[in-house]
């Protein structure tokens, strides 16, 4: 299970760690039972994500994908952020071991969850825009893990 140098860099020096006290949207996905939880905070100004922070409980790949995902959506419009796929996160990290692909799925979902929360707080129903975010439940495979 060898991680790429990019993964190790983002694990060793994760970008955007922390919380935003007055966040406009907060999303949390994952499940401690499964061993990974990601929580993402966004600050939105004029439809642009001007700041983003994360907290993650999880393995090296979970931390690295969180870090990379925040980098990829920072200063991007919400629309662009919603287009970010787990594949793009993986590619930006020069790949992930097969058993770790689910971490990139979590990262994608964490962003969607934060944006949903932002819309909800704005009084807008997020579902038509963001779609449903599946509950992570590794046990019945419904979390969408690639495992």
């Amino acid at each position: 299970m060898a991680y790429s140098e990019k993964v190790m860099d983002h694990f060793a020096n994760p970008r955007n760690v922390g919380e935003i006290v007055d966040a406009d949207g907060i999303g949390e996905v994952g499940n401690a039972k499964c061993g990974d939880i990601m929580k993402m905070y966004i600050k939105v100004t004029n439809g642009v994500i001007t700041d983003v922070k994360f907290k993650t409980f999880g393995c090296g790949a979970a931390i690295a994908t969180s870090s990379m995902a925040t980098e990829l959506i920072k200063d991007k419009s919400i629309d662009e952020a919603l287009k970010l796929t787990n594949k793009a996160v993986m590619e930006a990290l020069d790949g992930l071991p097969p058993v770790k692909v689910h971490c990139s799925v979590l990262a994608e979902q964490a962003i969607k969850a934060a944006v949903s929360d932002y819309y909800t707080k704005q009084g807008i129903d997020p579902t038509p825009i963001v779609g449903a975010i599946p509950e992570c439940n590794h046990e019945d495979g419904s979390c969408g893990c690639d495992l």
Binding site: V17, E28, K39, C59, A61, V99
Partner: protein
Amino acid sequence: MRKIYADNAATTPLAPEVLKDMMPYLTEVYGNPSSLYSIGADAKKATELARADIARAINAQPKEIFITSGGSESDNWAIKGVAKVMAKKGKKHIISSTFEHHAVLHSLDALKAEGFEITLLDVHSDGLVRPEELDQAIREDTALVTIMYANNEIGTIQPISELGAICKKHGVLFHTDAVQAMGNVPIDVQAQNIDLLSMTAHKLHGPKGCGALYIRSGIRPQILIDGGAQERGQRAGTENVAGIVGLASAVKNAVSTMEERTKRITAMRNRLIEGLSKIERSRLNGDKDKRLPGNMNMCFEGIEGEGLLLRLDLMGVCASSGSACTSGSLDPSHVLLAIGLPHEIAHGSLRISLSDQNTQEDVDYILKAVPEVVSYLRAMSPVWERIKSEEKQ
């Protein structure tokens, strides 16, 4: 950067003196031990001396020692081999424990698929089976009891003498996986009524890829690897002469230095446990005293094991975890679940396993590194955040 190897339960560095003993058999004494001529006879002599050394270490006879490719093969041979033979007598029930090594558990799974019935004894929260529960579990049709001498993750040492006595009382064969125990605790297959015992060289500063199975004289498990007449016709394959010599050398060293060495290692291990127990919301896994000298296994709430290991590696410390992530499966270690830990907590475990090559300075360094890494990871953990906020309420 300082480099500290503290994962000796996974594997150990080959000791230079063991390698030295092996070298002639990697160079000039290359003969096949089955050959007639002198260079073969020299190899043969070396394997027979090695067999005697291994036997002596556990109070067995040389002809009761069968060389294998390691602990996994020994476990498979012992368990499947005895099961196949006993099945012919109508005995198809096997007793083991919930936290055995996968070489045992998966062998049992294979037998289950063939119609054997398996009873797994509880190891309780302290990681110890209860002899009386074994006593009760044994049935008329019990073919074999297989319970590990010491656990590879949490290091707990089972009451083997008592278990052996119970097996003897019932006339049931008793196998023990002593892969982790060998060289760390005194073993006497006679006094302890052990009928079969697995060991491997690479856990005690011997080479990888060589182990042994002790089989009490008179017992004949079905052959796992059929073929040539090696190992008295019970295990085929041209002998790994250098490996066998290395196994014996490592066993001999381990046994002759046991008392003094384990005392030293235990002291270091206790310092580690004491020091790291100061970390809030930490807990020691497995009984505090009935454990292998070098084994420390603790959980730190709010963090996940792989992240912990990788950051320790960045600081030069090689350790291990029962974390799911390290094994490529999503479930945390079956061992930690077996002692009753909830998944969330089992994910945050750390195993440090010391050997003779570790120093007090290593311990000092680990005592500094682990709290640092735990703090760092907790600071970024939403689980820890929740724990702390629940504490305040």
